[in-house]
Amino acid sequence: MVENVKSVTTKNNKSFTGINFLKNYGNVLLLVLVAIIMVFLNPRFLSLRNILNLSKPIVPTGIVALGAMFVIMSGGIDLSMGFGVSLVAVVLGIVYLNTNSILLAIIVSLITGVLMGVLNGAIITKLKMLPFITTLATMSIFQGLAYLFLFGKMAWVRHPFTVFLGNGNIFGIPFPFIFLLIIYFIGYLILNHFKLGVYAIAIGNNEEGLIFAGVNVDKYKFYLYVLSGVLTSICAILLISRLQMTTPTIGGIPILLDAIAATIIGGTSLTGGKGSVRGTFIGVIVIILIGNILNLLNIDPNYRDVFKGMVIITVLFFDRAVNARQFAKLS
């Protein structure tokens, strides 16, 4: 059943045409273009030190983007991820301050992520509420709870384990980046070799068809939101490890928008049914590099948001144009 579903979702991508090349590798071309601009602006861009430096901010956005990818490709959305990061960050700080146990703090943080996902998944699948509205509401809940729990204060989280988790190196490579690669590898396995991932695409492609085929679509949707919640909590743990402190202002809208932008640039379709781990990874790098370029040019951050929005719209337009052309060719 899984193999049949996979073949349905991938059969149209096998033939090598210019359109297919752009469709499948357009984000790589965009990345190359951005990299060329970076080299032009900063000749030190390609030095090892700089690549290693740039690998750090990729990590939190990358993890949230992976969770966003799974949910979006199933035809859903999770707007609560940004403030979910804030809430988990606060929970971690509070548990650590009160118990001095980083292990307990991390476990409770992961459980918090699961619970956030359970809440979203349950409302969407059991109460049949729209994902957009549901996660908009839970976003507000998580934000409020984050501020309530820590009451606007800061909390220091300094433990050798988290210091290494956030800032350590293995053979000179930042450990958070290695961790990100591991997470993405697991994400790749889930997407391509486990029912959850394959059904995520299938639900986005043809949910009704799957229901008629006897698949428990609600169950897999529920698990996708739980997965999103877990990845949100992992992001928060890594962010806190990097900063060695927590405040309710961590996370929020910026990381959510960057993550969604990254998945879209990476080729994930907002209407569902399409996406890839490789594409999302590339999308994250593109988003971080765009932010980096704009920093180097000392551009007002408000223009940054305008520019990012324009990049997203351009990518969406391009994606739609290529899909329309391909559809016309096939018919």
């Binding site: 900063n42 606007g152 800032n167 990097r242 900063l243 405040t247 961590i250 910026p254 000392n298 951050p301």
Partner: protein, 343 residues
């Protein structure tokens, strides 16, 4: 008996008058007042500490009620809160304006209702008799930057992370930074970026700076809350000994960093002190005090004596109020403010 009874009546009258004046005087001395505080938000740690400091001042006063409200970053909500306080007929309203022009109509309503106004941390010039409680941000940040530049022997590359354009406090500190660096022809400003109030953003900005510029000698940050993010980036890159940092607001943690040498200097405003100070100013106005249009919070530089001696030997000649990190830690943890008004 008759002549004594007259004497007794006179004595009783005299005593009554004395007692009545005493009670009236006492009532004027400790008149119960209610003041309304309109804050930009009550989520940022700085503003939360302000509220805590204000609450301590309220308790110390004993005849004061302070109502704290958050505009949650919305100008419309801020205006609405001011109008609500006017309706409630509070004895004074203190505002931290998100937009100094947008709140003026609401301030006019308060003025017409006879309610004294305070604009906190912002100089707002209106015909409504408002007092502006201010910090010497521009002058203090200018001196803080001078300390950094003299510490670097008046040469080198510096970067700056400010708050947000349009925020009065951030604009003043940025202006102070720009004015100071102009005095040092061998100090080059490589980049200036807004970190707002987000330590994670400040960390990313600092990482970008470290990527873009091979040599950075100094960093000036506008606010302690985000300085920690920038310092983490420097620490991760192993450059704590190469990059000298100054920051502002005098948090307890930043004073510890001055003591350990991770920071060259800081400037104690102290969120709790600011909260307590504003509440005291509001209470004084509510009780009829006549204050200057601008009221300044006493601020102090947090710096090690050796560091101060070094920068003075290098040419720093400003007459500043300074304290040691240990003293700053004590003050920052309290709501002690050396400010009173003449009754």
């Amino acid at each position: 008996m008759k002549k004594y009874s007259k004497f007794i009546v006179i004595m009783i009258l005299a005593l009554s008058m004395t007692l009545s004046f005493t009670f009236v005087g006492a009532a004027a001395e400790t008149k119960q007042v209610k003041i309304g505080m309109v804050m930009i938000d009550l989520t940022n740690p700085f503003f939360v500490d302000m509220m805590n400091g204000g609450d301590l001042a309220e308790k110390e006063d004993g005849n004061l009620e302070v109502i704290w409200k958050s505009a949650e970053g919305s100008v419309e909500k801020e205006i609405s809160l001011i109008e609500n306080f006017v309706e409630q007929k509070v004895d004074a309203i203190l505002i931290d304006p998100l937009d100094v022009d947008a709140v003026k109509p609401a301030m006019e309503k308060a003025f017409k209702a006879g309610i004294p106004l305070v604009t906190m941390g912002n100089f707002v010039d209106t015909p409504y008799g408002n007092i502006s409680t201010l910090y010497n941000d521009r002058i203090d940040y200018r001196n803080l930057t001078r300390i950094l530049c003299y510490y670097l022997d008046s040469k080198g590359n510096v970067v700056h992370i400010f708050g947000k354009k349009g925020n009065f406090v951030s604009d003043e500190r940025l202006a102070g930074f720009e004015e100071a660096v102009k005095e040092f022809p061998d100090i080059k400003v490589l980049a200036v970026q807004p970190g707002e109030w987000d330590p994670a953003l400040a960390q990313r900005i600092m990482e970008d700076y470290l990527t873009a510029y091979p040599k950075i000698d100094g960093l000036a940050v506008w606010h302690d809350g985000i300085m920690y993010g920038a310092i983490t980036a420097i620490r991760s890159a192993g450059l704590m000994d190469e990059i000298k940092v100054v920051s502002y607001d005098g948090d307890i943690e930043s004073s510890k960093m001055v003591k350990s040498g991770e920071l060259v200097a800081d400037l104690l405003t102290g969120a709790k002190r600011i909260g307590a100070w504003n509440v005291k100013v509001g209470a004084a106005l509510a009780r009829g005090a006549k204050l200057d249009q601008k009221v300044f919070l006493p601020t102090k530089f947090v710096i090690l004596e050796d560091t101060l001696n070094k920068v003075m030997a290098n040419g720093f000649k400003e007459d500043i109020q300074w304290i040691t990190p240990d003293e700053a830690i004590q003050i920052a943890g309290s709501a002690v403010v050396d400010w009173t008004w003449e009754k």
